[in-house]
């Protein structure tokens, strides 16, 4: 796992101008406001930076495996990752996609409860759990922020349970596309022709469907003029209201 090469970091569209106010790279971090770091002042950020390591992953690479020792917590700065659990016969459930600003490994206790794999080339900040724990004592704000983050993850998880347990294939795809579009917007990427970096197979394993069902359902949505399937895994949302109604199960 190579150290971060700054020249290789893709800046996010909503990046703030590189701050001159502090020497710490964190102060200039484009996703600073989207993650834990938003709880901290510059000087506190310096302390956090002190225990930070950078890492990059090419697409397809595994960051950690389900069941391995959860010594580190990560924060994604660029790219997209997937988290998944496997059954012995290979059935896979992707429990979440990770976008810049999101945490990885938060839900784990002593061992990671899912495998984390890069969907696209990715860059991350890495924190040793034990060191982070010590910082909590110094900055309770940090732990407080982490509680908020974990609460938000719980909200997403509950929505996903509703999706997996009760929604039809069409409703699942609609929910998924809107989720991607909303997250893109939060990150300052275009919300409408939405980028769908993951494969049909990944989408299926996230939505509890097969590749074929994902493909067929997308085609039907295209045929009913709700979306347009473009090149490079781009999808245009032509009728957002219709998609939203579908997603909510109307």
């Amino acid at each position: 796992m190579a150290e971060l090469d700054p020249g290789n970091v893709v800046r996010l569209p909503n990046a703030r101008p590189r701050a001159e106010r502090s020497g710490s790279p964190c102060a200039a971090c484009p996703i600073r406001d989207l993650t834990v770091c938003s709880a901290l002042e510059d000087w506190e950020l310096d302390r956090l930076n002190g225990i930070r390591m950078s890492a990059e992953l090419p697409h397809g690479a595994t960051l950690f495996d389900e069941g391995s020792d959860a010594d580190f917590v990560y924060n994604l700065t660029t790219g997209c990752m997937k988290l998944y659990k496997l059954l012995p016969d290979g059935r896979r459930q992707i429990t979440g996609f990770v976008f810049p600003g999101d945490f990885l490994g938060l839900a784990s206790a002593s061992e990671y409860i899912y495998t984390a794999e890069a969907v696209t080339d990715s860059a991350l900040c890495r924190f040793k759990r034990s060191k982070l724990q010590k910082l909590f004592e110094e900055f309770p704000k940090l732990e407080s922020r982490l509680l908020t983050i974990s609460r938000d993850e719980l909200v997403d998880a509950h929505n996903q349970m509703l999706l997996l347990g009760r929604k039809t294939a069409r409703e699942r795809i609609a929910s998924f596309l809107l989720m991607l579009s909303n997250r893109a917007e939060e990150l300052g990427f275009p919300a409408n022709p939405v980028s769908v970096p993951m494969s049909r197979n990944d989408i299926g394993d996230f939505l509890g469907l097969t590749t074929e069902t994902v493909s067929r359902t997308m085609t039907r949505l295209k045929n009913s003029d709700v979306i347009t399937l473009g090149a490079d895994r781009m999808i245009a949302i032509e009728d957002r209201d219709a998609l939203a109604e579908m997603a909510e199960g109307f």
Copy 2:
């Protein structure tokens, strides 16, 4: 919502002898070690007790509705509750069952993200969120403990996603029965003839199945001598190993 009548509280089997060391009812709480309170000393517990209110709910009663203002957080002391989300046409997903020592409303921000309804007659401690928040500043341990609890909830949620997205009906039922058995044991109730207080319909809505499928699957497990269906919603696990293998998808 009546105040807790102490004469009406069913003591849990693993209750410790009523403590004489403190005047606070919390110090004598039978589930004290199972919940947030385990993070606190007696004198700190007194402070927590100061913002505590008691409540009871008969079975079938709703504690709060999805979407209503999340002003309170609750801790179940006796009974069993269910948390669920609804789709506009009435499809329901139960996102979790709540047992003594468990929290309700933790995942919520300004509004509750699920409805909470009593499965059996229940008793709870109620805390005003704003007051609890203030106690956090006084006892960071408390917030720390809450982070652990919410992390554990996240682990459960991820396992449930795997179940809902990828497991067969038989595997879901097996997982469910083992979960009930394990939780019962944690609480000091018998792990083997396991009490299943919720209806087939509730089980179905928790596992993403219909009542009929739950019923049929249970019958098949009975016919293959893995379980025995008793009266009063009791189920005996006859072949725990077989059940465990099923649950894991072997």
